[in-house]
Amino acid sequence: MESINSFDFRERQIDAYIEASLPASSGGIRRNGSHWRVLIARKLNAALETAFLILILTQGLRAQTSATADANSRLAQLERQAADAKSSADNAWMLTSAALVLMMTGPGLALFYGGLVRKKNVLGTMMQSFALMAVVTVTWGLFSYSLSFGAGNSFIGGLHNLFLKGVGAAPDPDYAATIPAQTFMVYQLMFAIITPALIAGAFAERMKFSALVLFMVLWTILVYDPMAHMVWGRGGLLNASLGGRFPTLDFAGGTVVHVTSGVSALVCALYLGKRVGYPGESMPPHSVVLSFIGACLLWVGWFGFNAGSALSAGSLATSAFVATHFASATAALGWAGAEWIRNGKPSVLGGISGAVAGLVAITPASGFVKPMSALMIGLIAGVFCYWMVAKVKARFGYDDSLDAFGVHGAGGTLGALLTGVFASSAVNPIFKDAQGNPLASGLFEGNAYQLVNQLVGVAIAWGLAIVGTLVILKVVDATIGLRVSEEHEVQGLDLSQHGEEGYYWEVSA
């Protein structure tokens, strides 16, 4: 009785299992006629087990006979997986960095500059940065990427990558072997956006919006693309790692970004002339609060700018990250400290301006110097840029309204030269002998000639920026005109150029 009951119970269990595993539409199985089903299921199970055993045995035999071939293929598979993992890691960091660098322009630079102008120009100034996020993206995709990084001559890239032809998932081993070429392209795009946006600080509060757009498109083609190609492009005249004639060390764009934009800014300030009422009229920043938020966003974004320039997520990125942070810190202390000594008070604007100056100066050096060198570079930059902005500008009387030259031109030039002094082969063995052993990098390591290379790089950046910018200013001035009318300038760019106000004052009902 008991055994029958027990069998009956198990049978029901199996029935229930079969019923549960069948789709609802097939209907239930009546318990009464299920004995034969159980028997068939058991036979089938036994047959399957036998087949499986045979399969394992044959596989084992095959494995024994072709052990070496199998090990090789597994090794190849592992290598592929390791490379994929590294590529994914690098790509994750590079996409993050690209986003960080875009954040430097909007809202970082837009807020930094927007706070420094008068209330009536806050939107116009922010729009200058924002417009470049859109305009340069289009030109970069259509032709500028090709002119910067496509194969060409020593001075400018060719047209092989027009419309991003050939820029896809496959890495370009010359530039960044572990990330898709498309990642490299979009990362470089963010640099092409912020560089012209920096210039806008010099002609703030008086340039026509239409003139700005035309100027910037031409500037990207005539100044940025050639400079980027010379320093970073394959076969570029100044390229340090791809066989340039004068190997200039510029890790993240001291010459390409800051010297070109800063010097062009000075040319613009001189060409356009002063703002109406400058310097007699009082034109203090309308909101240091906005500038403060912008500067702090710039500081954070700069980690993508500099550490991202390692083009991978390894220890070089860490080294550049640390150098960037350290230089910004001492530069903030340097500028605010200089003010404290001279004016009796350290200002907030001084602190954040110093931080930005330090970030500018460390940009070319970030992937080549040790943390203590970064502290030195930052401190020198903070004090030097304060002196440029507070003393030199006042002496010559040009109206570089938001100090694009005083911070980016001066700080970038200083940083590019100091890179030749402090560069260390222990951080980044960029120069190697025929056997692959690292050679001295900077002046302090005994490579005095590097300072000459840095000077050549800086001189070319200055020359290109001056000539290119002058030509473009003449062209834009002759065609659509550069400045807004005096009436519009007094009214403010927000209303005259965009028909809006940044701070619409409404009586609450």
Partner: protein, 112 residues
């Protein structure tokens, strides 16, 4: 009826308001204003450029009172707003011809 205008330090608004309420002043208008008397302004320095700021933020109270209240109100303001330093502000008194309550066209001191 007399209009009392008092320009005071921003930080003294609460004290003055309380003192006026205590003596029975029922209404007032408060304005945020900028200006200067004999008090010198201050200088601000932005990136090495000095700006002298001579219009200093102040608070202005306006109220129209029945003549019987005016002396008490002036004393209340003097007591609450005075620090004894330059920049404490000023009080101006002027005659008011008429007061009209918009809600019911009531005229004179009854409209205050």
């Amino acid at each position: 009826m007399t209009k009392v205008e008092a320009v005071i330090q921003n930080s003294k608004l609460e004290a003055v308001k309380t003192a006026l309420q205590e003596i029975g002043v029922e209404g007032m208008t408060v304005l945020e204003v900028r200006g200067h008397g004999r008090q010198k302004g201050h200088t601000e320095v932005y990136r090495g450029r000095e700006y002298s700021v001579d219009l200093i933020p102040k608070t202005k109270l306006e109220m129209v009172l029945a003549d019987a209240m005016v002396d008490k109100a002036v004393q209340a303001i003097l007591g609450a707003a005075r620090t004894g330093k330059i920049g404490d502000g000023k009080i101006f008194l002027s005659r008011v011809d008429e007061a009209i309550r918009i809600r019911n066209d009531e005229r004179g001191e009854g409209a205050l």
